[in-house]
Amino acid sequence: MSVSSELARALDDFPSAVLTVIDSDGYPVSIRCTAAYHTTGLVIRPVPGWVELEPGRACLMGHSHNQDLWDLCAVLSRGSLVEMRGTFEFRPETFSRTSGGSIVEFISWFRRARRAAKTYLRRSGIDRPRVPWALIAAAKSDADRSRSSDCRP
């Protein structure tokens, strides 16, 4: 399966995707769009006039969550945007599932995150900081209490 078809299949799970490019001032700019599979990439529609799309580096992502901000699902693809006969096509180079996926993908993600954390601390030259578990637990209890009081009639 090509990266394009894998990405197109994954994006089918979301009502729309988010395309991000860099604008003429050097800032990222994102639009909601649909991305339809084409043999060489994904055709982006609509392309609003205000965004002044130019061929160049781009990313395409999709994400979703439920009412409790859970069942998180997200995919991300880095690539480039090319113009073809008046339409813009996203050419993916990478595809990754950044949330959701199988248990194997989760374990792999978890291991990568632990490694990345160790690397971050080593590069910053700091020891593993102590996490204030009691304060975090209190923040959760406090949020749980305020949510349940909001639900009372």
């Binding site: 988010v18 991000t20 490019v21 860099i22 604008d23 001032d25 050097g26 800032y27 990222p28 700019v29 994102s30 639009i31 909601r32 609509p46 609003p48 006039g49 205000w50 580096r57 781009a58 990313c59 992502m61 994400h63 979703s64 969550h65 439920n66 009412q67 409790d68 901000l69 859970w70 998180l72 997200a74 991300l76 880095r78 690539g79 950044t98 949330s99 995150a113 632990r114 990345a116 954390a117 160790k118 971050y120 601390l121 910053s124 700091i126 593993r128 900081p129 996490v131 204030p132 578990w133 304060l135 975090i136 637990a137 923040a139 959760k140 406090d142 949020a143 749980d144 305020s146 949510r147």
Partner: protein, 167 residues
Amino acid sequence: MSPIMPGTPLPLALAEVFINFRTAELSTIACDGTPVTVEVLPLWQPALGRFLVTATIGLPHKAYNARRNPRVSLLYSDPTASGLDYPPIVLVQGEATVSDVTTWDDELAECWHAVYTKQPNGLHAKGRAGRWLIDWYFVRVKIHITPTRIRWWPNANQETPPLEVAA
């Protein structure tokens, strides 16, 4: 571009989006110039005229990117669970600053409260083993975003020209 100063009046519809949306799409720029967009749970700090996003050091790429290139954006485009009917889409572009590693301060206290309020099953750890496994998740860097440009689409239709908050 100049920052939008704290106290700049915002339309009520935008304030409602910043308070009630569960997520926004944060875009940073990677070292090869590719924009990278991920979903985040931002905290709006109206008194300070900025937004706060935190990153665990286990998923540090947005922090690395924002340190290297402070130009970032937040797109508020997914109203799921916001309780708002027909909210606008809002695009905030701005300049980011990235803090040192931290595990607790007043801002993080506010962030964790927001996380657990909006995400009741949000990750937390009980027991020594669980805490040892997951402590990296609670070690954070703060990314403060000072807006330089805010555009919005009242009907959530980005095909139409946006409205813009005057700086």
